[in-house]
């Protein structure tokens, strides 16, 4: 089981507020801290913010990204630079991205020499007006990680499983977490006051990745205290947290 803090809304966040939450997450033994864009509200920079956060804390950093709104090669480039600057600690969750964009992001991150003729995108475009235009192109630099962990939202579950990326869903009572997909555990986005027993029931026998949206450093400490032991050790003795 893995435990992440967030996603913290970038809307309204400041360095001080992000740093306080992120440092509380480290102190409470969270595996990662996540931020979320809201491009509909003009709030972007998820990967720049992840790169920013990676300088403040030593744990993994994640970004919830709004896809489909700009060229996916730019998203792949942002992922690569955030990953390289963080020395390989970046994770991403794509929401609202068309299948073609997800495929292109993954192809670019792989370091492949790409020549893609998709439903709406040709990469490279090979436009007559551009001379010389390349026959193929590759993303440079490549990410630091051999494979950057990527999840897609539940609405894209079938595509995600086909592509071997993880699947993420919002917490719903008595509903199992998404099954692992490819190399990645299913991800469940939970409220800050979620109970360990509920998470374990949602995970069943599979590994899961829980993002817990605790909204203050005190709530982060409390969530860590409540969840870390039971998620890491089956049969975690209750008396340990009640000393």
């Amino acid at each position: 089981m893995r435990l992440g803090l967030g996603p913290i809304a970038l809307a309204g966040s400041t360095r001080a507020s992000l740093e306080a939450l992120a440092k509380a997450a480290v102190a409470a033994s969270f595996d990662s801290v996540w931020v979320a864009e809201s491009r509909a509200g003009g709030v972007g920079g998820g990967l720049a913010a992840a790169a920013f956060l990676a300088q403040l804390v030593p744990i993994r950093v994640g970004a919830v990204l709004d896809g489909g709104l700009y060229h996916p090669l730019h998203m792949a480039e942002d992922i690569a630079i955030a990953d390289v600057t963080s020395q390989g600690r970046v994770e991403v969750l794509l929401r609202g991205a068309p299948e073609e964009h997800v495929r292109l992001v993954l192809a670019a991150l792989s370091g492949a020499h790409m020549r893609i003729d998709g439903p709406t995108l040709r990469v490279p475009a090979r436009l007559e007006a551009n001379q010389p235009a390349p026959d193929a192109l590759a993303l440079n630099p490549r990410p630091a990680q051999a494979v950057v962990p990527v999840w897609v939202d539940e609405a894209m579950q079938a595509i995600g499983r086909d592509l071997g990326v993880g699947v993420a869903a919002a917490w719903r009572a008595d509903t199992p977490a998404p099954a692992p997909s490819g190399r990645w555990p299913g991800m469940l986005l939970c409220a800050g006051d979620v109970a360990a027993a509920d998470l374990l029931r949602a995970a069943g026998k599979a590994a899961s990745y829980f993002l817990v949206d605790a909204s203050s450093p005190e709530n982060v400490r409390s969530a860590g205290w409540r969840l870390v032991g039971p998620l890491r050790m089956p049969g975690f003795p209750e008396w340990i947290n009640q000393q």
Partner: protein, 320 residues
Amino acid sequence: MTLRLGLGVFGMQAVPQRPDHHVKLYRDLLEDADLAEALGFDSIWLSEHHFWFDGYCPADIAAAGAILGHTRRLGVGTAVMLLPMHSVEKVAADATTMSRLGEGRLSLGVALGYRDAEFDGFGVRRKDRGKLMDSMLPRLADACRDADPPVPLYVGVATAIAAERAGRLGLPLFADSTMTATELRTMLDAYNQAAATAGVTTPPAHALQRDVFVTDDRERDWAALLPELRYMRRQYGGWSFPQEPAESVPDYLDRLEADIEAKLKNLILGDTAMVTARLREFESLGFDPIVCRSQFGNLPRDLLRRAIEGLGRVRAEVST
């Protein structure tokens, strides 16, 4: 009078003669940012290109995010982002968010771009870049002005025509390092005329990029720098003037060489007093900040650190 000095421009290239892994290059960048902050520089600047084998930084705002997180006082700028290849909504949303997290330390320099292969990667016709810039710049300027904190926006220029575009909007320039003082004056005249015709207020100063290397031993450091500068200028030249299909490599290198010799002469190479005096001359033309490029490709670490420390002494001089 205080002149603001920026340190730049970092392209984050794993050049053939020193092909460091990018994890190391970005770790070095953060160390250089620490040094620049300790020496009192105003800012540090990143450059952008795409799909090149040496990993030239393709995502300046993401890289800026790392520097903003790592430092507390230093400004971070893009010199320059190639705006027509981007979504202006994305750039605006990324920049305004990072300006807030960076507590007002992010500046944006944007320019047209010129390499066909990069435009083609994003499905944009290079010949449309001017029209795209005309449509994008006012929207980006509005978003930068309305951001909290606002994001200083500069327009990268190397020609009078590009300066006129910025002049019509009253946006400050980020003048290219390859321009001579005479060319800069001509460009500023074109800018001011365009601004006056449009009836817009002009900014108090513009930004300028210069190739600068502070040294007490010109002969020794010129010998060390020349191969690095030649590689860097050949690369930029190669992007501006691609090899013709029927052109041999030796002929092509000769053609590139003819283009770069004049640009190599623009390097300001000298001791603290000489460099200070030259930068004051450019300040008197109306440039502040001046972004001093001492990173040419990927210099040996000891050479670059010595250059930054030398520039730190210049910074102390121009701050009085």
